[in-house]
Symmetry: C2
Subunit: 325 residues, 2 copies
């Protein structure tokens, strides 16, 4: 099996390009010094996220295509979280010399599988050798004439809503780590390996008049805390076991098998890449969003607090921290 | 001295943001899920380049700010090489736990030093731990209503021209590697550590009607070969010792001290990030460009060939290859 060290950089790139989607908005595709992408709105969104082997993914946990899918998905989710439609990605790869060419091609295919059907192009990239596999993706999107929806816009009286799933990726991760996944639980493992952010819900939220919107990548509580601080409000989260029972039910078997707490997964599990939104009380929630709480004045609690109703586990200072985890 | 492991990710980011320029075209700066940047042209350029420690830079060869400068510079050069004006960068960093916070701040300052004065914003980023220091930058630019200038547009009869310097970064690299740099040769070391791409020459070339344009990052011969193949022409390069004697003269002392061939540096040295352009014969070369050859029909030589006049060293299959170097 060929490794990347058996090919020249130009040969490797030439073998990758046909696997990657051009994109509906691409004027000049990959191959020149830079790509050119349409920005009909006259503005574009941009965001970047990096995945490092043995930190964000393990090669023995899934296929190369899962890593490509996930690297794209989490960046596309950040674009959707501004209320924008994704248009394009660029990708920098650091590849140890022993990386198989097949693995790199699988990575490309995974990116194509999520990007191709929604018209997103993979329009550029760079390759380097290195000690550890790194996948750095930058995504771009178009706001379609709407204002960007920031995390700082939540106002007292707003409804707090969520689109996507809560805790599924954390459940899948726990199963992988415990080595016990099988059968029906494969769905949770997929939710971790191939998160499916509700991308279309982002522009829908913006069009419906969302006052705040953000990607939930580091866990509901931690990300809600960021929205609460940015908006200088208190977020009052309903009892999730009662509010989104379907999300909890989906986690039951995995919780039993791993001996972990499914409510904790829902509150602190990262990598689901759902969308957290605040909507004015008179707005009908757009498709995909379910009410999970209320935005309150910082009265009894200081601004930036997230209150959790129901039987919440003691989660302390929650969520994922790359340097302290 | 604090290392990145002494801070939370949020604390580290909060300490970096004030060091980074916001940018003249930035609508929503770093801090939300994605940034929003103006694209007055209705299109934007995007390109990405990754730097890996001990492969693209060594921490003991210069300051952190040099690495930040260089990571930004080589991406900005790719934007200029489309004929565009750079508007913004996003940056993904992989930082080993022992990386000092000072080093990270120095990196930010170096990016600010090249981006700030030209109105380019550093509008987003991501951090991760990892084994090896990696700096992945994506740059964006605006075409100002002009067509993008591709590397595939060179036509027989065009003048081949170059803006920037040839061989200086290779000379500086040779001095650093030999450990013999001092005094006057510091200028070459700077040319390697802090390349100064002729950014304004890119849009000038586009406005003047350049038929082809590209960044010279992997050495003149290798990159000229790419232009020749993309354009299906032969590029006939004049005797550089006679054509750009100033570039050669600047290398003389370093060549003596290292025992290397300065013409080889000019032909095959990478990382100068000058611009190679083809202009129709009736175009007056814009400021910064000097004639270095002619674009010819593929008659006696097949398309894609680069001919080198004068006393050229035997350079074989030239230039830098990340996986075979």
């Amino acid at each position: 099996m060929d490794t990347v060290a058996d090919l020249t950089e130009d040969e490797l790139i030439a073998s990758m390009l046909p696997l990657l989607p051009r994109g509906d908005r691409t004027v000049v595709p990959a191959g020149d010094d830079a790509a050119v992408v349409e920005a009909p709105d006259g503005r574009f969104c941009t965001t970047t996220d990096v995945l490092v082997e043995d930190r964000h993914f393990r090669r023995d946990w899934g296929e190369a295509s899962d890593v490509g899918w996930r690297a794209a998905a989490q960046n596309l989710a950040d674009v959707a979280a501004m209320g924008a439609e994704p248009t394009s990605l660029v990708v920098s790869l650091v590849l140890p010399a022993a990386t198989s060419v097949d693995w790199v091609h699988g990575l490309c295919r995974g990116m194509a599988e999520i990007c191709g059907p929604i018209g997103v192009g993979v329009v550029g990239g760079d390759l380097s050798g290195g000690q550890q596999l790194v996948v750095a993706v930058t995504a771009h999107g178009d706001l379609g004439g709407r204002p960007a929806v920031l995390r700082s816009g939540a106002r007292p009286g707003d409804v707090l809503a969520h689109a996507g799933v809560l805790g599924a990726a954390a459940g899948g991760y726990a199963l992988l780590e415990a080595g016990v996944h099988a059968g029906g639980e494969q769905a949770l493992v997929s939710a971790f390996l191939r998160p499916a952010p509700p991308l279309a819900a982002g522009p829908r939220a913006a069009a419906a008049g969302a006052s705040a919107l953000m990607d939930v990548s580091d866990g509901l509580l931690r990300d809600a805390g960021r929205m609460a601080r940015a908006s200088a409000v208190v977020l009052d989260v309903d009892d999730l076991a009662a509010t989104v029972p379907g999300d909890l039910e989906r986690l039951a078997d995995a919780a039993t098998r791993t001996g972990q707490d499914p409510v904790r997964w829902m509150l602190t599990g990262g990598e689901d890449h759902g969308l957290l939104a605040a909507f004015p009380g008179d707005v009908r929630l757009p498709d995909g969003f379910r009410r999970i709480g209320t935005v309150r004045e910082p009265a009894d609690h200081r601004a930036g607090t997230v209150l959790v109703r129901g039987a919440a586990p003691d989660v302390g200072a929650t969520g994922w921290d790359h340097f302290r985890a």
